[in-house]
């Protein structure tokens, strides 16, 4: 008969429960020097083991929030004076540059920044790259006999319907930004218009790899480590696609980095940044995520060494202005 009470009871229980749980879960700002909070744009699957090792080696506890690189950057900015993160671990140089520009990053001491070559860090010590990723050309050798020497060769009509790209992906956008910054807006427009004619659009790099493997397209533009990701899934011996680089200095050989910025005065944050550039972490990047070490740990077998790649000369901090690039990509009808 008492219909109301039947739903009122669980409701009050839920309310009470919420408040209690909410109170317990209240995050203590990490004032203890023995623990840090990281906002990570890199995925849990790829780096949680690395963070466990960090805690084992240093005794510093780690609390991580995983999210999208750009959304976490926006969140940090909205936190204003109450920034909860001690460290921001970003997927690409653009997001790191954006935080530095807003003045929320702390200057890193030279004993950290000196570990990395100039092209892979912020000019004024606001962030530092910790691992590198190369832009590469993957192709099926059974179908592609003459390798392109520049990304521009892919603009030729003979590539119509044969080259896979992922224009909504940050890595493609950073690459297009590089063309814009280094070769001018017109070069970027020409490239994008040609890609509208020749390109087959995919949502992600991993799907392009699969498409080359399945013979859906002849070739694709991806980050190098996606080759190893697919190889881990199907076995290296079954891989049809091969990796190629363009000629020396070609914009198609862009090297981007994942990196960290320190956001608080917690000394453990700097310990973490430095640890990422130590041998344990650098080996992890090479062996587990198949990225490039930025401190000279040798590459995984079969990958062209970083020192042999003639990447285009670009200041990675310039990659923070993607807005114009997006406008071009959209105008070309690729977004």
């Amino acid at each position: 008969m008492n219909k109301k009470n039947s739903w009122l009871a669980p409701l009050s229980l839920a309310l009470a429960g919420t408040l209690t749980l909410g109170a317990c879960a209240s995050p203590a700002p990490t004032d203890s020097t023995e623990s840090i909070t990281i906002y990570s744009g890199r995925s849990e699957e790829l780096i949680s083991d690395l963070l466990t090792t960090f805690t084992e080696e240093t005794g510093i506890e780690v609390e991580v929030r995983y999210g999208d690189s750009a959304e976490l950057a926006a969140q940090i900015l909205e936190e204003g004076k109450n920034i909860r993160a001690d460290v921001y671990f970003g997927q690409d140089a653009g997001a790191l540059g954006a935080l530095a520009k807003e003045g929320v990053t702390k200057t890193l001491p030279p004993d950290i920044t000196d570990l990395v070559a100039t092209e892979y860090k912020s000019m004024n010590g606001q962030w530092v790259g910790v691992s590198g990723r190369g832009r590469v050309f993957v192709y099926d050798p059974a179908k592609v006999s003459r390798l392109p020497t520049s990304y521009k060769d892919l603009m030729d009509p003979s590539w119509k319907g044969r080259i896979g790209i992922a224009p909504t992906n940050a890595s493609f956008q950073a690459f297009t930004t590089a063309i814009r910054v280094l070769e001018g807006e017109q070069a970027a427009i020409d490239f994008l218009n040609a890609m509208r004619e020749n390109g087959v659009l995919f949502e992600k790099n991993s799907i392009i790899m699969q498409a080359v493997q399945d013979g859906v397209v002849y070739a694709g533009l991806v980050n190098h480590y996606y080759w190893w990701e697919l190889a881990a899934e199907i076995g290296e011996e079954n891989m049809k696609p091969e990796i190629a680089w363009f000629k020396d200095g070609d914009t198609g050989n862009l090297i981007n980095v994942a990196g960290v910025a320190v956001l608080s005065d917690n000394p453990s944050a700097n310990v973490f940044a430095k640890w990422l550039l130590g041998d344990t972490a650098q080996k992890y990047f090479v062996e587990r995520t198949r990225e490039y070490s930025l401190t000279g740990i040798p590459e995984v077998a079969g990958l062209k060494p970083l020192k042999d790649i003639k990447a285009p000369a670009i200041d990675l901090s310039n990659l923070d202005s993607l807005a114009e690039t997006l406008e071009l990509i959209r105008k070309a009808g690729l977004l």
């Binding site: 219909k3 109301k4 739903w7 669980p10 409701l11 839920a14 309310l15 429960g17 919420t18 408040l19 749980l21 909410g22 109170a23 879960a25 209240s26 995050p27 909070t37 995925s43 849990e44 699957e45 790829l46 609390e63 991580v64 929030r65 995983y66 999210g67 999208d68 750009a70 959304e71 950057a73 926006a74 969140q75 900015l77 909205e78 936190e79 204003g80 004076k81 109450n82 909860r84 653009g94 997001a95 954006a98 909504t168 940050a170 956008q173 659009l201 995919f202 949502e203 991993s206 859906v216 899934e233 923070d320 202005s321 993607l322 807005a323 690039t325 997006l326 406008e327 959209r330 977004l335």
Partner: protein, 499 residues
């Protein structure tokens, strides 16, 4: 309480004003008048209008078949009409793209969002049809009106309000959707707002676009309330309900309804099941069960709190018809089409300014759900609450009951089904919610939706599919309950039919 709830839902709006005008007014004007903005307005409205029209057509048709026809299997088709609510738009989009790799553009977005939002219309119209007595229809036919004339002149005016409010929910959903439009690459305001964060890290640009989107929403709301006009007052509970004999149309209609169900349910479910089987060996059961628990916990508490506040607002609006009530009711709609990321960032900003101790706690997550989904709850509660005649209040007062007692013993029991529907609707929506949960959750809390996001972020679709499938199955429960609640309304009528 009602005022507090409405104020909560206005936080995003105030935040947008601060962001936009903090950056200077000229910038706003310049951007508002840019060709690009105009293009976005046109493409967003085009999608919102065409989706809501087709959703109204399909949803009303399904509701009419389920409630008023003698089609064999109409109960099954009724359940099938409500179930697509359980599939998040991004999951549906992913599964379609997994089947047809080149699935993109306006048509793709229109198709996905039409089948995704038609259930909103179906639910609202079914409820209206179940409450509407068919005596006037019989009178009309006995006076010589043809079947279509009856439909047009008697039935339609009585369900028009329900159809339009379902259509409004559909249109506002389209305006705020990010998942589906980004996967099929159709450009709308919400996608541009996300891109403003993702690509240029520009909060002010994003806020300006969002504020223009709010203006567009206001436009949609005004048009909707104009076109509603004066609606006829329906009866409380239908006494009689005849079913229309479909005769030779039965077979083609069954085929048509099966076609709709295949598009909305069979393709996504088949695709998810296939990928789940591929991904099953790698599934981490501990992770899944933790995510399942958080999803249930968050959605149930979010649903109950939101429904409770919606009852408070609805009481103020409907039972005590004041000007304040009207303002409250309209204001909660203001930010309904605002993308989740904007709502989430506004709460990050406000909590850190005002109450840093609630930041990254469940309290703030629940506040976000209230701000986002109060309108959904309100739309389910207002009509049943307004259908409890005020004369009953007077009777109860004359019998010596206090106002509070009347509320408890007269008004709430009548509105009970509406409150139940509102709660389940919000539970369902919270289960699928991603952007606000992702940004505001306490560090370390994972729901099925956030896990799904993590998995699709790195690996193949196969690792993510089990989460997606579980999410759809879980959300199927409230979707099914919602449909059953409507059918319950029909039971006394069906009983009469047999007599």
């Amino acid at each position: 309480m009602a005022v507090a709830a409405a104020l909560l839902s206005l936080i995003p709006f105030v935040y947008l004003l601060l962001r936009v005008f903090g950056a200077g007014f000229e910038g706003f004007i310049e951007l508002a008048l840019a060709t690009r903005t105009l293009e976005l307005i046109v493409s967003s409205l085009l999608l919102a209008i065409s989706v809501s029209l087709s959703a109204m057509l399909i949803g009303t048709f399904q509701a009419w078949i389920a409630v008023r026809s003698n089609l064999p299997g109409r109960k099954v088709f009724g359940v099938l009409a409500a179930l697509p609510l359980a599939i998040p738009s991004y999951v549906a989009a992913y599964s379609w793209v997994a089947v047809i790799p080149g699935f993109s553009g306006f048509f793709a977005a229109w198709l996905l969002l039409t089948v995704g939002t038609a259930p909103l219309v179906y639910i609202s119209v079914s409820a209206a049809l179940a409450r509407f007595d068919s005596a006037p229809e019989e009178v009309a036919s006995s006076l010589g009106a043809g079947k279509f004339a009856v439909l047009r002149k008697v039935t339609w005016p009585n369900i028009k309000g329900a159809t339009l409010s379902g259509g409004l929910l559909s249109a506002l959903y389209v305006l705020s959707d990010f998942g589906a439009v980004s996967i099929v690459r159709y450009d709308t305001f919400t996608r541009a707002i996300y891109n403003a964060y993702r690509a240029s890290f520009d909060r002010n640009l994003a806020a300006t676009l969002a504020l223009i989107l709010v203006a567009v929403t206001v436009l949609v709301l005004v048009v909707e309330s104009r076109s509603k006009g004066r609606k006829p007052i329906g009866t409380v509970i239908a006494n009689r309900l005849n079913r229309i004999d479909l005769r030779i149309w039965k077979l083609p209609l069954v085929a048509l309804l099966t076609g709709i169900a295949s598009v909305s349910l069979v393709v996504p479910l088949a695709s998810l099941t296939r990928w789940s089987i591929v991904g099953l060996p790698d599934t981490d059961w501990q992770e899944i069960s933790e995510a399942l628990f958080s999803s249930i916990y968050l959605s149930v508490s979010g649903g109950m709190i939101t429904a409770l506040l919606a009852v408070a607002i609805a009481l103020v609006v409907v039972r005590f018809k004041t000007r304040l009530g009207f303002v409250l009711e309209r204001s909660v709609w203001l930010t309904h089409a605002t993308p989740g990321i904007v709502v989430a960032l506004s709460l990050v900003f406000f909590s850190n300014q005002v109450a840093p101790w609630i930041y990254q706690t469940l309290i703030l997550v629940l506040i976000a759900y209230v701000a986002l989904f109060l309108p959904n709850a309100l739309s389910a509660i207002s009509i049943p609450l307004s259908q409890s005649p005020t004369s009953l209040d007077e009777v109860s007062a004359s019998l010596g009951l206090t106002k509070l007692q009347t509320l408890r013993r007269v008004v709430l029991p009548i509105a009970g089904p509406g409150i139940f529907a509102a709660t389940t609707l919000v539970i369902l929506t919270v289960l699928k919610e991603l952007p606000a949960t992702l940004l505001l959750r306490p560090t370390g809390v994972e729901t099925l939706a956030t896990r799904l996001w993590t998995e699709t972020g790195v690996a193949a679709f196969s690792t993510a599919a089990p989460y997606a499938l579980l999410l759809v199955v879980l959300a199927g429960i409230p979707a099914w309950l919602l449909n059953r609640a409507i059918r319950k309304d029909l039971e006394p009528i069906n009983g009469l039919e047999r007599v």
